[in-house]
Assembly symmetry: C2
Homo-oligomer: 578 residues x 2
């Protein structure tokens, strides 16, 4: 039924046909996610509401924005993407998030939390000004609903004086269980219909409509029709209680573990997050000032044990990256030693607070930045390829990049003794441990992983930052040594400050920089400038990502394609040394 589904026919379906459709959606999503990886539990929970949306509304003329997009698989399957759905999250395939370039049914791209209500208001206002007729819908989970941006949007609904439907898909979970005062309000309404909380929502200009079981198709169909009717008169909040992972027993019981699922049979490396968790626990035992703050990601960041063992010093504030950053700055002002663990791409949300609260006040906050560099299957919105650039411009901030999981451990131990802002960035998986002497961490000091000798007055130094780039450097070294060539390999474990001694003292005639970050404003640019200033005639060439948004795909393949390409680098080195 799903295979031949066309949105324009759904209105003639019987209730039992619609139920079959729901079953087929669930099976397809489950099978695909097991093979391709992806978001399982939230997509299983949104099946009935999405079928009801198609039954009642008229896409693509009506517009819907999914926040953050973790529930858009049923929508994708019903809007002409069934036949390509087996390419989910693969290079060139269907995105795990809404993508305007993928289908006219996708009205607005998402991936970061809390944008949907603002975006719906903006699209609705455009409709009004252009005199168009269409409904605009924001579909948002209760986790995202905590984000400050949603509140700013609700606050502006009356100002922009337009009509939208907000569907609040309430499963009580973001990636971790949803927390905080706002969720207490939402939950009170759900549990007991607390009328004052409903009237609060009405103050923002919303008519409230509740659905007790958002996984009951009949209930959803009639509520959706009612919401559509009410929408003629003004904005509506349709609050539906759903079960995350609905229909997949293991997922229903384990919504956190099945939020994002790797493909079956994925290799399991030592993850940086494991080392983060272990090391912070060990440090916290000795140092009672250490606190940890997370924005709804504690499990994925390796912090479950810390939260279990030090509950009084561990804070999950929900998807509120800005608040987490200011809390850390203030805890620092109050004499604590806070650690803020977060994904690289989500830290962008706290950019101003890193500058204004943490660094301008020179607070002893350590940012533990996971999923840095290309992150792979999640695509454009999740690549952690900007952090070296947006952090390098901030005064007072030191930026460290470990060469492997063991160096992360050493850096964290160092951080406990460091009383200024510090950012440590690393990818998800640790693939190698380089070993060697593991010199103690000194701010701004790099280390040689390999030293070569000059030949014909030419000498190349490959200065790479982070494990992925050092693996590339060492691989090229091995290849070339077999061909009789040699060059220096340097572990640039600090991106800021740079190692001025190295710049002064290296006898390399050619320096190549490698980084898992965009070229603009990044590590290589800073190294170029340092050599330009040193005025020693050393040529510098930067390998970093070109100025484009990087789509989903295999990490190593994307690295090569977007600017850090083993073969090119090897050929360039050879062209110098020959």
């Amino acid at each position: 039924m799903l295979e031949k589904f066309a949105p324009e026919n759904i209105k003639s379906y019987t209730k039992s046909q619609l139920n079959v459709l729901c079953d087929e959606l669930r099976v397809t999503i489950y099978d695909t996610v097991m093979r391709c990886g992806g978001h399982l539990a939230s997509n299983l929970g949104s099946v009935e509401s999405t079928v009801a949306l198609f039954y009642v509304f008229d896409f693509p003329n009506d517009k819907i924005i999914f926040d953050v997009g973790h529930q858009c698989y049923p929508y994708k399957l019903l809007s002409g993407r069934y036949s390509r759905f087996d390419t989910l999250r693969q290079a060139g395939g269907i995105s795990g998030f809404p993508k305007r370039t993928e289908s006219e049914y996708d009205a607005y791209d998402t991936g970061h939390a809390g944008t949907s209500v603002s975006a719906a208001i903006g699209l609705a206002k455009a409709r009004d000004l252009k005199g168009e007729r269409r409904n605009v819908i924001a579909y948002i989970g209760d986790g995202s609903f905590n984000n400050g941006l949603v509140y700013e949007a609700l606050n502006s609904l009356k100002i922009l004086n337009t009509k939208i439907l907000i569907i609040l898909n309430d499963n009580g979970m973001s990636i971790s269980p949803t927390v905080g005062g706002m969720y207490d309000i939402i939950n009170q309404i759900k549990e007991s219909g607390a009328s004052e909380s409903i009237r609060l929502l009405e103050s923002f200009g919303l008519t409230y409509l509740g659905v007790k079981n958002g996984n009951d198709l009949e209930e959803m169909l009639s509520a959706m029709q009612e919401a559509k009717d009410l929408l003629q008169n003004g904005s509506v909040l349709l609050h539906i209680a759903t079960k995350k992972g609905k229909g997949y027993e293991f997922s229903e019981d384990h919504p956190t573990g099945t939020h994002g699922v790797p493909p079956v049979g994925s290799p399991k490396d030592k993850e940086y997050s494991e080392v983060l968790g272990e090391t912070l626990c060990a440090l916290a035992e000795k140092n009672k000032s250490i606190t940890v703050v997370s924005a709804a990601m504690k499990e994925a960041l390796g912090l479950s044990d810390f939260f279990r063992d030090y509950p009084e010093r561990a804070f999950d504030v929900g998807i509120c990256e800005e608040n987490a950053s200011v809390l850390c700055a203030a805890m620092g002002a109050g004499g604590l030693k806070p650690y803020y663990a977060i994904y690289s791409t989500f830290l962008q949300r706290a950019f101003d607070e890193i500058i204004h609260d943490v660094c301008a006040q020179d607070m002893p906050v350590t940012f533990c930045i996971d999923r840095a560099g290309i992150s792979g299957a999640d695509g454009e919105t999740h690549q952690g390829v900007f952090d070296l650039s947006y952090l390098s411009l901030i005064p007072n901030l030191t930026i460290a990049v470990p060469k492997d999981t063991e160096e992360l451990r050493a850096m964290l131990e160092f951080s406990a003794t460091y009383s200024h802002p510090l950012a440590i960035r690393y990818p998800r998986a640790g693939r190698v441990v380089f070993g060697g002497e593991n010199k103690p961490i000194q701010v701004g000091e790099w280390e040689y992983l390999h030293k070569s000798t000059s030949k014909n007055g030419k000498k190349v130094a490959v200065v790479a930052t982070g494990e992925r780039c050092l693996i590339i450097a060492m691989k090229i070294l091995k290849n070339m040594q077999e061909q009789g060539f040699d060059f220096d390999v340097v572990n640039a474990r600090f991106v800021k400050p740079l190692d001025r001694q190295f710049v002064q003292n290296t006898d390399a005639t050619h320096v190549l920089t490698l980084e898992d970050n965009v070229a603009n404003g990044g590590f290589g640019q800073a190294v170029s400038m340092a050599f330009m200033q040193a005025n020693k005639g050393c040529a510098v060439k930067n390998y970093a990502y070109r100025d484009e948004f990087i789509p989903q795909g295999n990490v190593a393949a994307l690295q090569g394609e977007y600017g850090v390409n083993c073969k090119e680098i090897e050929e360039y080195v050879k062209s110098i040394l020959v």
Copy 2:
């Protein structure tokens, strides 16, 4: 009385002495602001509440955070800074904002809106964990209370399980009148004691206490004591209705115009904001798709006429920079042509939304970035010296910098025909109009303001971006021409993309870059890299601000002191050409 005031004696003051103190505070603030410039109206409004704070609480052991700091003058005057207060906002003098380095009474630095509640929670949690005894207070205006960060903080109050006092100083104004759904809720409570709205606040874990006239000292004293008592049992929201500009008749009647006041006798140049307003009005008349979004700053940005003439296409969303950015992206997706006008430093708040919503989707949004570069008397938190760096790293974004107000006009006319993300950044005051042929704007094309000829095989090109730096370049040129030297002066009116033709074709042996921005990740670094890649042996030297937070002071003096120094540049040019 104020002259000899010491916080430890206030508890023995009679009511009439306290009233005299209030009067003296008002007079001192008025006199100082007339001489030094600064925030007048909000500081006049906070006099009584601040005296009550000192009467009831015990600073500096108790901690207070002012949000955004526009009401901290009475606090500064009462905490040992009376004698130095005549240096307000001057180089080396008293800051217009709280500054930990200035006094132990200042617990946390502010300047951007909405941080106070998070900061208070963080400080209170530090107190709890360290077993200290002190009260922690957030003092916030109703304008800041709109910001999403405040909501995120309120949301986390229960999670962090601590006790703070929030004083909501409600004068119905941010810089412009306060707007939006949340303020309707607050205002309902103020006007009619709407009990459901109060219960909402209680859902966040706050006990509500209202004061009808926050400029009545007796009322304030008893309410403050009550708040302190209630604080022993849990967090408290003390909602005080005050009059912005209280006690200064002109200010009471003109709270927007007297929010920030320049010193009497300041020179009045043609401001970039005037040109922005005029040009957008003219463009909007022809192009019905043009919309304008502002975050509570429409007057200062020159948009009053636009809001009057095109009210259906002009939106002031309050201090909600992130929401404004997403609204613009979505309006673009809906077929409109949105302009987002904002100060450089405040745009930092929307960093993620510029990337994720505007640029990743390649939306036709134009950012009109005012107060770019060093902004002067407001100090560290208000310098617009990071934007060229944090914008340059974003794919799909074009960055333009007009050489004068006339070129801003040309760039805005160009922007109306441009269907991709565009940032135009400029300082407040326009000092000169360079004239010349005013070539049509082409993306990435620079122009020569002066062409020289080579001498002894040496040729210098000074490539400067923005009016201030071009004024410096032309001034040095004039000086040096009188001494028989000559060099090229280039108006780098696009910072991204760079002018590749110039890089290829210039016959300069030495290029100097000048920018009103930090060096890290900025314009000069990108130019260095471009020449490094072009491999033509041209030396590049960058003049930009060094890696520090820049304090308050005179703009031109700070420029010279932090890295763009006329004399140094002139000497360097001379050293090349001699």
